[in-house]
């Protein structure tokens, strides 16, 4: 016997096929969700008609981390490749961290330009006019993203450029947060 408190309670039914099977796409419901769970009328979990889950809590967001090593103060000649996504994604945040306090960043700074491979700017972050410019082992957001869309096959790039004499970054680590869009 099943649990009488559940609305739909199916326990060990005979057969070998999926307990619930839906065949969608041939009617006016072609683009409706397969599953839609709500909390007080607000969606918290869904599986769309393409089979893409959109769960609640921390499940929806993904992270990708790239450690770039030491960046010298004048790294203007370098243009870093960071990652490629095989399906469309939406960027939600980017953080940076270093393993050693930088030098005084009051005058000498480092600008980090994040862009997609079609040159669309994602974010441009300049180290703070502080001493140090970035403290060791602290994660600093690059701020609100100018663009968030990553199409299938797009890659993310990082172009550093010095302000004044630039600022060396020891063991620069990039943390990218995104959600899956398709």
């Amino acid at each position: 016997m099943g649990n009488p408190k559940a609305n739909l309670n199916i326990v060990n039914p005979p057969g070998a096929g999926p307990i619930i099977r839906s065949d969608q796409g041939v009617t006016g419901r072609a683009t409706a969700d397969f599953i839609n769970f709500q909390k007080n009328n607000s969606e918290v979990f869904s599986v769309d008609y393409n089979g893409l889950p959109d769960p609640g809590g921390g499940d929806a967001k993904r992270q990708l981390m790239v450690g770039l090593g030491d960046l010298i103060a004048d790294s203007d000649a370098l243009e870093f490749y960071l990652a490629t996504w095989v399906v469309a994604c939406t960027l939600t945040n980017i953080y940076i961290a270093v393993d050693t306090d930088t030098a005084d960043g009051s005058t000498n700074k480092q600008t980090l330009l994040f862009q997609i491979d079609d040159d669309t700017q994602i974010a441009s972050f300049t180290t703070a006019a502080d001493n140090p410019g970035i403290a060791a082992a602290t994660w600093t957001t690059v701020g609100v993203l100018d663009s968030t869309t990553i199409a299938a096959g797009n890659s993310l790039e990082l172009l550093p450029s010095k302000v004044s004499s630039g600022l060396a970054l020891s063991n620069l680590i990039i943390l990218i947060e995104y959600t899956v869009s398709a």
């Binding site: 009617t27 409706a32 709500q38 918290v44 450690g67 960071l82 490629t84 491979d117 990082l158």
Partner: protein, 365 residues
């Protein structure tokens, strides 16, 4: 209107409970005749959408022209399949048919490379990715505990690669063979079309109870709670980070290297480490003690490189090794807590080259 609609119903147990004792799936969803989603009895999600992909991006760093090196890239707690590999550099490396570099990616259990790139006829253009083509169908199957590594070999004088980064896309393998495959059509509920509507086919709207519980032989394998958070035991509930923190010298033993900042509360499940050099456990003083520590300085896991005798592992270049049992208390991190690498040595630590760490974790909220 939804076809199955559970709204503000009475009870404290999940609104939907499905418990099976054979290999049948719980739900299957087809779009225009093609299966695009399946929820397996072990809680594993099969989907043709981008949800299935995971990514790690490993910066190998600068590679000298005459390098003959191997770099660790990935190790997983469960079986995975490598689907795509890309590589890029921060400086252009011109094509040269005489002096070039060959970059290959290997599965430690397979002698054939997954794929190979060279600069013999195609350059690396700064910041632009190059895809590894035609991945070997056997080598892409990376079993739990195996290591994916990159091998770099020079022909002639070779060519230097600056800021080499390798990005890997992979999927978590289905642990239940039947899941995702064709199944019988004897369903308990079958929905065809569902009629014209923008509502979901299956809806649950509640204020106090979980939405769904999937069980196998009475044991819950996946729960979707009131807030839509999944709590599951299947391998696709595990996530991975890989980071190459570069060479660790004796002088670096005062450093705290940031390696993880979760976006939600997470439980660290395993941490693997390796390097591009070989390290025999043959020093009783000049070894490196590697700590993964919570930002409160409490140790999550620790291990040794280059010694001491009997305590460290003999490291093969490019391979990743389990650092040991995770301290569960300090391995549970909220979004405001972080992990760091810290180091110690009783003597003068022998340099560790391209120390690479893999973090495997689950999301708790």
């Amino acid at each position: 209107m939804p076809v199955l609609d559970f709204e503000d119903t009475f009870g404290s147990d999940p609104a939907i409970i499905m418990d099976v004792n054979n290999d049948r799936s719980i739900m299957a969803h087809y779009l225009n005749g093609t299966k695009v989603f399946e929820l397996c009895r072990d809680g594993f999600i099969y989907t043709t959408s981008g949800w299935k992909y995971r990514y790690v991006s490993v910066n190998v760093g600068d590679v000298a022209a005459d390098s003959e090196l191997v770099y660790p890239l990935l190790r997983c707690k469960h079986d995975v399949t490598i689907t795509n590999i890309y590589a890029g550099t921060d400086t252009t490396a011109a094509a040269n048919g005489t002096n070039y570099v060959t970059l290959s990616v290997f599965n430690s259990e397979v002698t054939t490379a997954l794929s190979t790139l060279t600069t013999a006829s195609t350059a690396f253009t700064l910041k632009e990715d190059r895809a590894f083509a035609s991945l070997d169908s056997t080598a892409v199957k990376l079993k739990a505990g195996s290591t994916l590594y990159a091998s770099i070999a020079a022909t002639g004088d070779g060519v230097a690669l600056s800021g080499l980064t390798i990005c890997i896309a992979f999927t978590i393998d289905r642990p239940v063979a039947a899941c995702g495959a064709a199944q019988a059509d004897d369903n308990v509920i079958r929905i065809i079309g569902g009629g014209a509507s923008t509502d979901g086919l299956i809806e649950s709207d509640h204020l106090i109870r979980d939405h769904m519980s999937i069980r196998f032989r009475g044991v819950e394998t996946l729960n979707v709670d009131l807030d839509g958070k999944m709590h599951g035991t299947a391998p696709d509930q595990f996530y991975y980070h890989v980071i190459n923190v570069g060479d660790i010298l004796d002088a670096d033993t005062t450093k705290k290297v940031p390696i993880f900042k979760p976006h939600c509360t997470c439980q660290i499940e395993a941490i693997y480490f390796g390097q591009s050099g070989t390290a025999a456990a043959d020093a009783d003083t000049n070894y490196l003690q590697v700590y993964v520590r919570h930002d409160s300085d409490e140790t999550v896991v620790e291990n040794y490189i280059h010694g001491p005798y009997g305590a460290a592992v003999d490291m093969t270049a490019g391979y990743l090794y389990d650092m040991g049992e995770i301290n569960e208390q300090w391995g549970k991190l909220t979004s405001s807590e972080t992990l760091e690498l810290q180091f110690a040595t009783p003597g003068t630590a022998t340099t560790v080259t391209d120390l690479t760490v893999v973090i495997c974790y689950k999301k708790l909220d």
